[in-house]
């Protein structure tokens, strides 16, 4: 039995067009999975079915052996944290401190513990100087950092990030990734939805979605050996990987130059 177990699951918003079609996905405890796919391929919808916000039309979603139903969702949500795509629409608190605290307040964490965790996680995302600021005076990336801190502070066993780092600057992203790697090593299950292939390659396993279906699923080393999978799902491989694959070991400097020129300007 897998930690996250999606079986023959389909989902529709309108009752007509299926947005998710026959999804089968098993994720083990402690896995780090990246979900890739073009805009509208159903990534966010899939994430919402995992936390019981959307109810499948067919099939089931189970977390740690419990199938998600309206009765089981409150208990299941205590095990999952999810950061959504739009940072502006998930800022509940009036200040940064209040917002990081919101999830913990609902989990009935004691006040002392909350203050400790807020100090720790605000620092983790580099927002410790902004604790008393209102959301209106923060930038998009800063709001994203606060949203991430709020979920990290809940210390759930499964964490889902839905393009949660899209507005972070490279340094903040690197810091966060380091921390997520640490959490992963401590045994947390991480699901990261992203358009950044570099970010996805930090995961152990890649799931590529296309038009509501799982198009490819496997360990990243294996998937990277099949460039056609990436090409068919409108994903661009990192340049370094393309080079490693297309040029042989004896490539001359001229060939490398020509390759770089080609891939950068000749499209």
């Amino acid at each position: 039995m897998s930690h996250i177990d999606i079986r023959d699951m389909s989902f529709t918003y309108t009752g007509k067009r299926m947005i998710l079609k026959d999804i089968n996905l098993q994720i083990e405890q402690g896995e780090w999975v990246a979900i890739l796919g073009h805009n509208g391929s159903g990534k966010s919808t899939l994430a919402k079915t995992l936390v019981g916000l959307l109810e499948p039309a067919q099939g089931t979603v189970a977390i740690a052996g419990t199938i998600i139903t309206p009765e089981t969702t409150p208990a299941i949500r205590k095990q999952i944290g999810i950061v959504f795509q739009n940072p502006d629409n998930q800022f509940v608190g009036v200040t940064v401190r209040d917002d990081i605290a919101f999830g913990m307040e609902n989990l009935c964490v004691s006040r002392e513990e909350m203050l400790e965790r807020i100090a720790f996680f605000a620092k983790k995302v580099g927002m410790e100087k902004y604790l008393d600021k209102e959301p209106a005076s923060l930038s998009g990336g800063q709001k994203q950092r606060v949203a991430i801190a709020g979920i990290l502070a809940m210390q759930t066993g499964i964490m889902i990030f839905d393009e949660a780092t899209s507005m972070l600057d490279p340094y903040a992203r690197e810091d966060l990734m380091k921390y997520i790697r640490q959490l992963h090593q401590e045994g947390l299950t991480i699901i990261m939805i992203t358009h950044e292939i570099e970010e996805a390659l930090l995961a152990d396993r890649l799931v590529i979605m296309k038009e509501g279906k799982i198009f490819a699923d496997g360990r990243k080393e294996e998937l990277l050996k099949q460039p056609e999978v990436f090409a068919q799902s409108a994903l661009v491989m990192p340049l370094a990987l393309q080079m490693a694959m297309q040029l042989d070991d004896e490539a001359t400097f001229g060939e490398v130059k020509a390759f770089l020129w080609e891939s950068t300007f000749a499209k």
């Binding site: 916000l53 409150p74 999952i80 609902n106």
Partner: protein, 320 residues
């Protein structure tokens, strides 16, 4: 739009800022009652003086408070004239025949133009308004030349002046009280204070914590929504919409074209927000701990003593 201040909260130091919002809310209510118990102008002036001393001790800028009260000056002026015009008790202080004549109408028109022009300078507006009203009065009183349309007798009674001064000072003190409250208390603390004070209402089924959450979320989203309105207006203006000119029908159309996207976005936003709250384990009506804590401190004890003795003093004055 980023620097919009909700309520009138102005960050600062001093004991007003250290006080528990609950003390301040109860205090303002109790002191208002105390003020309403006072009956004479000297008593009110003493109250005003005590208030000013408190403000100075609390390191509040009187100028800033006056600025916060500016929108209410009109109310003060209106109250003042209302009393003067309609209170007909006591001896007559002033009696003047006011005449609406060609000359006085001309003078009033000239004064109005001058006033509006000077008002554009945006300084001394209050003095200007007083000067304008005085000018109108003198033109009516002394410029009875040319064709006369109407004339009437304007009488000011002693009691009228007394009452108008009394009522205006009382209003001033009360407005000052509430201004101090809103200026030194963050909207969040204010809602939390109200929540805490309303907690006993749970007995009759009013859930004050949910009420407070709704208020604080609304407060949090007002700047975001204003920001959005600005963006939509800018986007529409760049496609040729004009929100200022045009006929009424066009204007209404523009406003609808602003409101429709705003409502759609607001609905989407509230849906997302509900999702975010739900996945962060919020369940309406469930017990939750709180990060912000109200603390009743030394300042509050002193303030309570002050409030109780003020109230007692005005009750004694009233009864004697």
């Amino acid at each position: 739009m980023k620097n919009i201040v909700l309520g009138q909260y102005l960050p600062g130091q001093g004991f007003f800022y250290r006080m528990d919002p609950r003390t301040k809310i109860i205090g303002v209510i109790a002191l208002m009652v105390a003020i309403f118990l006072l009956e004479t102008i000297p008593q009110l002036l003493i109250a005003l003086a005590i208030g000013v001393v408190c403000m100075l001790l609390g390191r509040l800028s009187i100028k800033r408070i006056a600025k916060g009260m500016r929108p209410l000056f009109i109310l003060l002026i209106f109250t003042f004239f209302f009393q003067i015009l309609f209170n007909k008790e006591g001896s007559i202080l002033l009696q003047e025949t006011l005449t609406i004549s060609l000359a006085s109408i001309g003078a009033i028109i000239a004064l109005t133009i001058l006033w509006r022009l000077l008002a554009k300078l945006r300084r001394f507006r209050f003095l200007l308004l007083l000067g304008y009203l005085a000018g109108v009065y003198f033109s009516l009183a002394y410029l009875a030349y040319g064709y006369t349309f109407a004339s009437f007798v304007f009488t000011v009674y002693e009691r009228g002046v007394e009452m108008s001064v009394f009522v205006v000072i009382r209003l001033l003190v009360i407005i000052t009280l509430s201004t101090i409250l809103t200026l030194t208390t963050k909207p969040t603390d204010l809602t939390q204070g109200l929540e805490s004070l309303m907690r006993p209402l749970k007995v009759i089924g009013i859930r004050s914590d949910e009420f407070a959450l709704i208020i604080s979320i609304s407060l949090r989203y007002i700047p975001t929504i204003l920001d959005e309105a600005n963006k939509i207006m800018a986007a529409q203006a760049s496609r040729g919409a004009d929100f200022l000119q045009g006929r009424l029908k066009d204007k209404i159309r523009q406003i609808i074209s602003l409101l429709v996207p705003m409502f759609i976005i607001a609905f989407k936003r509230s849906e997302d927000l509900a999702d975010a709250m739900e996945t962060r384990n919020f369940i309406p009506g469930m017990k939750r701990t709180r990060i912000s804590e109200l603390a009743f401190g030394k300042t509050d004890i002193l303030a309570t003593l002050f409030i109780v003795s003020s109230l007692a003093a005005s009750i004694v004055l009233r009864v004697l």
